[in-house]
Amino acid sequence: MARHRRNRFGFALLTAVFVLGSAMGAAGAQGRTATASAGAAADTLDPLSRALDAEDRGQLVVAASAYREVLQRALIPGGSDGDRVALALLGLERVWAEMGARDSILPVVRRVLTIRPTDPTAHSIQLRSLVALARDDEARESFAMWRRAAGNDGAPYREYARLLLAQGRAQAADSVLADAGRLLGAAGMLSGEVAQLHVALNRWQAAAVAFRESFADQPYLETAALYGLQRAPAEARDSIRTVLLANPVQLLPRRLLSALELSWGEPRRAWAAIASVQPDDSTAASWRAFGERAEVAQSWLVARDAWSAVFERRGDLEAQQRAAQAALNADDADGALVIVRRPTTNVEKNGTNGTTGVATTNRDVIRLQTLLPIEIAALGELGRPAEAQQRLDAASKQLDPQAREAMARPLVTAYLRAGDLTRAKAAVQGTDLEDDDETAGWFALYEGDLVTARKRLVRAATQRATLVDALGLLARTRTAQSPALGRAFLLLAQRDSARAAKAFVALADTLADAAPALLGLGARLSDAPTALTLWDRVIATWPTSPEAAESLLASARARRAANDIPSATARLERLLIEYPTSALLPQARRELEQLRGQVPPSESASQFPRAFR
């Protein structure tokens, strides 16, 4: 039977060679002769150039004709130009698909396969076209033919499975890949496709296993794995974690899990996934990349841990500084202090590389200039200004005037954090901060000199939230002196928001002209139940104040967060009806429409794939 099939194949091949040879031989020979004689000018006559140009111009019929000419010249039994055959076939496939005549490629491909039975491009085009045309039986035959021609090559399985998966026909792809595993005995070769199949079938754990296996030979699948697995629903994620965290601990699966956890909004788990990988240069590079991503996402605690791990491994000053700064940003001043006080073992990147005494001194200076501001700020946050001053005094000989100036602000913050206004003022003596409007304005405010505070703070360069609050309050009162208001703001500088809130609320009785603003500020610093009471008080007592509309919106949001939709709706409606000139109207209307379901939720993109509707 097999022999009979071989004979039949041989006869067909000979026939095709004869027919095509007689049909194309002359044209091919003419073409070659013409090309040789025309020299450089022949390029413009080259049918491939013409075909590509025509396709670019959208002249599909002309392009198709030219591509056919290319194919005719390149397809010579026993001596075909494989590259041009492939280019011509792919061009014809594109052009005919655009013309809505996708099936026209099929007879051409059949002819090519008669002459070049193992041509992978022709096989893949044939398969692709038949699948697209929904000629499923013929597609299966085409696949079988390619499989026979390809021997132990996994390409036919890969291509067919990929096409079926792209069409959402996961069960059919499953059969193909199962055959591949059985016949080729090398499922690993197709583990990427197997993994994609599992993703398509929502078999998340199996997909994770397949991706993990594929990393051994195909590490480039990491991005594909991330794209596929990040769509896993919350309930399936633990099974993925189990697979990727399993022993032996390897960087690639752990790095994938880390990226997945970040995309699922779990930065702590993301760091845990790669933290325990055996440290080496590749791991340190991954940690560094993770630390940078965490900084961008402002996940400061995990950024601190990642940079600390990099510092542990490499001992460099940059990692130490970034770890300490991340700790400080994460309100972990203790941690920041511990980090900056650890010895740096590698300062080469910062400009010193010698071992002489001078180089060592330079290293110390660089280290000091890099880390001391963070140390001072950390001490300030911890309410230890004396220690900060001591560190600064001790280091002053090693600091140039510019560096010393740079330390003044964190030192002032340290004193203010401790509530020591006198020393804070002393700390600015002889520095540029003496002329700084913001610093002078704050000092005036803390002392209750509202006139000076108003004058200086309005010129401040920064727009920090507390500054905006202060300016807002100062604009609402004509009072010239209010030590109580100064003390309330000093409590804020000490990070004692609970006492500051109470102080602002208490002031509402004495600073009557700014009462709604004081209550609004108090509400922002208070817990939800207290805030709701304060907002209601503003709305009821000062309904014409600018804070009334703001309080309505804030209380509507708080009630919505507590799932009290009717109350939230009532407040938004009241804002819209009673404050028609408020600048908050667009926000209120938008939120009301969301509550009523009149606008689509932000995540409501359709589940359907893309095609014009």
Binding site: L60, A97, E98, M99, G100, A101, R102, D103, A132, L133, A134, Q167, G168, R169, A170, A172, E573, L576, I577, P580, L585, R589, R590, L592, E593, R596, G597, Q598, V599, P600, S604, A605, S606, Q607, F608, P609, R610, A611, F612, R613
Partner: protein, 440 residues
């Protein structure tokens, strides 16, 4: 003088056995009311020109007036097609909540407006009652995939959803106005079979339609959908208002004309379309088109040559242009004038399964409401049929010119002045109009 007379009259009336304090306060209250009354308006004018902050929700406010038993007037071609509503607290409140611009207007102001209307290509149409609205859509479908559902939801206009079961059991008679969107009434699933036959959503849709066919004793989905199309045709014939967009326009007429002809591909009914389908189509019953050529190939994603743009056939796809709304005589053609009320006359075109309508296949007598200059197609059609009427608007989403399956939904709060969406909402209010004999 008038106030003085009123004061004297009241004093005389209250002169009998009423304490002086009470007398004084009653008189004061009445006088204050009398003084204040001319200052408050009797009407609210809802401008629909560029002075309107939210054109789309203005239709919702007008609909609310009708829904609560009040009358409204539509000032055609006056300030972009303004509405005149009674000055009532509930309407003012709704307008304020929705951000709709309203202008209080007195009797004198209304008289001035009417005088201006009388002297130009303008007219007043009385809107009497809120039409009962049904949208043909699967009940569990989210509202974000159909421009009409989007528009009504955003404007706060109530509607019901009906699907094949309700249509085939005669439920349409409960409604004044029915909307169709991208349903394929030829039962060919918009020819998406080729690309999506194994996609879960497609399989689900096909199984749902096959179950409906079985339930109503139909041989296949095309037969069931043709029966639905026939029921919709009957609804219009008996006096209903039909508004269709996108693929529903073309496929409805094809299904009606092909009631006795197989035009469906083998993937939907197991047999190829009849070879002589074109010749056997019965266009006498269709609403808008006649003489169209059926596209028999299952590989070409088009139902016929009715659509001028053929967006899903890459080699035939035509680029988008702009379409222009025709100006009609408000006094002679109030219906057509109502349907094109807008603050813009030139609107960017937008694709859909059916984007436009080839002029060559439009029946004589159909009113063309909008067209693209120099193009062989039109965009917006209207016609009478039996005792009812229909309007077809090509395209899927006026604010998403290239809306594809899977595109994010259109957020109308970001497009409250959309002229394209106004066309949809004109159709919603059009059935509320008091019927006048047509003059042309």
């Amino acid at each position: 003088m008038r106030l003085l007379r009123l004061f004297r009259r009241l004093t005389r009336l209250l002169s009998v056995a009423v304490p002086h304090a009470v007398k004084a306060s009653v008189v004061a209250a009445v006088v204050i009311t009398a003084i204040a009354r001319p200052l408050s308006a009797q009407f609210l004018l809802v401008p629909m020109d560029d002075g309107q902050r939210n054109h789309l929700k203005a239709y919702g406010v007008t609909y609310l007036a009708l829904q609560t038993g009040q009358k409204a007037e539509w000032f055609l071609n006056y300030r972009g097609g303004a509405f005149l509503l009674p000055d009532r607290a509930d309407l003012r409140r709704r307008a304020a909540l929705d951000g709709v611009s309203v202008e209080p207007i007195t009797d004198a102001g209304v008289s001035a407006a009417r005088a201006e209307i009388a002297g130009g290509n303008m007219d007043v149409v009385v809107l009497e009652r809120a039409p009962k609205i049904a949208i043909y859509r699967p009940v569990n479908q989210p509202p974000w995939d159909d421009a009409v559902t989007l528009a009504l939801t955003y404007a706060g206009i109530e509607f019901s959803s009906v699907w094949d079961d309700e249509v085939l059991t005669g439920d349409l008679s409960k409604y004044d106005w029915v909307h169709l969107h991208h349903e394929d009434f030829t039962g060919q699933f918009n020819k998406l079979y080729l690309a999506y036959r194994d996609a879960p959503w497609f399989v689900q849709q096909r199984e749902r339609d096959m179950a409906t066919a079985r339930k109503f004793g139909k041989a296949d989905v095309p037969a069931a959908k043709k029966a639905v199309a026939e029921a919709i045709r009957g609804f219009v014939d008996r006096g209903g208002f039909l508004f269709a967009m996108c693929g529903a326009t073309e496929s409805l007429d094809l299904a009606i004309a092909a009631f006795a002809v197989d035009i469906a591909g083998p993937f939907s009914d197991g047999t190829p379309p009849a070879a002589d389908a074109d010749a056997r189509m019965d266009w006498t019953k269709s609403l808008a088109f006649s003489g169209a050529h059926i596209e028999p190939s299952p590989y070409i994603n088009a139902l016929s040559d009715i659509d001028g743009h053929q967006v899903n056939v890459p080699a035939r796809r035509q680029p988008l242009g702009m379409f222009t709304l025709f100006e009609f005589s408000a006094k002679l053609d109030p219906v057509a004038a109502m349907l094109v009320q807008n603050h813009r006359t030139v609107i960017p075109d937008f694709y859909g399964v059916t984007t436009s309508f080839n002029r060559a296949v439009i029946k004589p007598g159909v009113t063309v409401l909008a067209t693209e200059e120099g193009a062989p197609w039109t965009k917006y059609l209207h016609g009478d049929y039996g005792k009812g009427s229909w309007t077809f608007l090509g395209g899927h989403d006026p604010e998403d010119a290239q809306h594809a399956i899977g595109s994010p939904p259109t957020d109308l709060s970001l497009r409250p002045n959309s002229p394209g969406y106004r066309l949809i909402l004109n159709n919603v209010l059009f059935p509320a109009a008091k019927k006048k004999p047509r003059k042309t």
